[in-house]
Subunit: 197 residues, 2 copies
Amino acid sequence: MALSHAILAALIECPCSGYDLAKRFDGSVGFFWNASHQQIYRELSRLEAEGQITAEKIEQDGRPNKKLYSITATGKALLQEWIAQPAEVSPVKDDLLVKLFSGHIAPRETILQKLKEHYQQHRAKLEGYQAIAQQHFSDPAQLSEARRFQFLTLRAGIRHEMAWMTWCGEAMSFLTEPAETENTYQSSLYVRDDLAE
Amino acid sequence: MALSHAILAALIECPCSGYDLAKRFDGSVGFFWNASHQQIYRELSRLEAEGQITAEKIEQDGRPNKKLYSITATGKALLQEWIAQPAEVSPVKDDLLVKLFSGHIAPRETILQKLKEHYQQHRAKLEGYQAIAQQHFSDPAQLSEARRFQFLTLRAGIRHEMAWMTWCGEAMSFLTEPAETENTYQSSLYVRDDLAE
DNA sequence: TAACCCATGTAACCTGTTACATGATTAA
DNA sequence: TTAATCATGTAACAGGTTACATGGGTTA
């Protein structure tokens, strides 16, 4: 399970409340994880019970009190242990691909519309990530250790959105004029032989 | 929920048993969905009870009997309806990104090792997809309607693996020699203005 | 003779989603 | 005065994982 690890990772970067975590997962930190507030509160209770995090009650006036969560030494040690363990890559699992796989049973216009909507959603995400990159990571070589790693996860988000956008564009072209679409996927451009086993 | 839709989509392409479905989701159809056999059997029972699919009992000698599932008219209609409904893009959610986000608390070597393993896993997947592309989709313009859509989902899988590999390579370079890594992410190369709202 | 393939399932558990619930403050 | 923001939670349900269970046939 990785939700607990994602929460620990977020709390290491910056201690915060459950409410704040939900917003962070929904916003900038969303390029590496997301979760609903119900899931987060449940997990925070569990992590606190297990001693991986501690809560500090903050009394506020004019707004509800909150609990500020921070990671404990135990939590940090467990996270470090987990980082070193082997990991499998996650499968894609996107509704659009299921829709496309059986796309021949739907009107062509419906499918093209889905592709267009998908493209626009990914474009909006990409623009959001690029704005963060420009505001907070404009000089990558000068970043602190911690920020350098955050920058890399942001770059992963950016790469993903770009890949989706590229694919959506190709798919729409292919569906409207298949004869003009060339198959450029056999190339080995992306293969680094120095990384082969 | 999309597992049921993924099953329906797979059964439209080719009626098969639960065992076969598990293998398909684990193999070539894995670029758009995956599921364990337990999940598949549970879902097949539900879909059959709801009349979306029908089972035909196949008696075999020398090996266990099996149930061959096919989609019904009801199931197909429901799938068509679902295809037309709006869809959100799925978040990434990959363990490696969580590990990287808090990568500064782990030894540098551990992180580089994780990146390398990830790269190799994606490379293996890419090679598998490319083999399918060459064997079954070598002339995309000549494909049938149904196969054309399957080709597009395969291309999505290929694009994803390429994006991951590119990112892994960049991340490793950045961690070993950050000064030489240029920030090439501000470009708008991937943006098609004709698709803006 | 051990391991794997075929083929199906149950049970328990954990993760994720949806709906419901409260209640003050602030901005349109 | 309506809606949004801040802030936390419970309950029920659906989706996904892990472990357990069976049993014949094939390959090393």
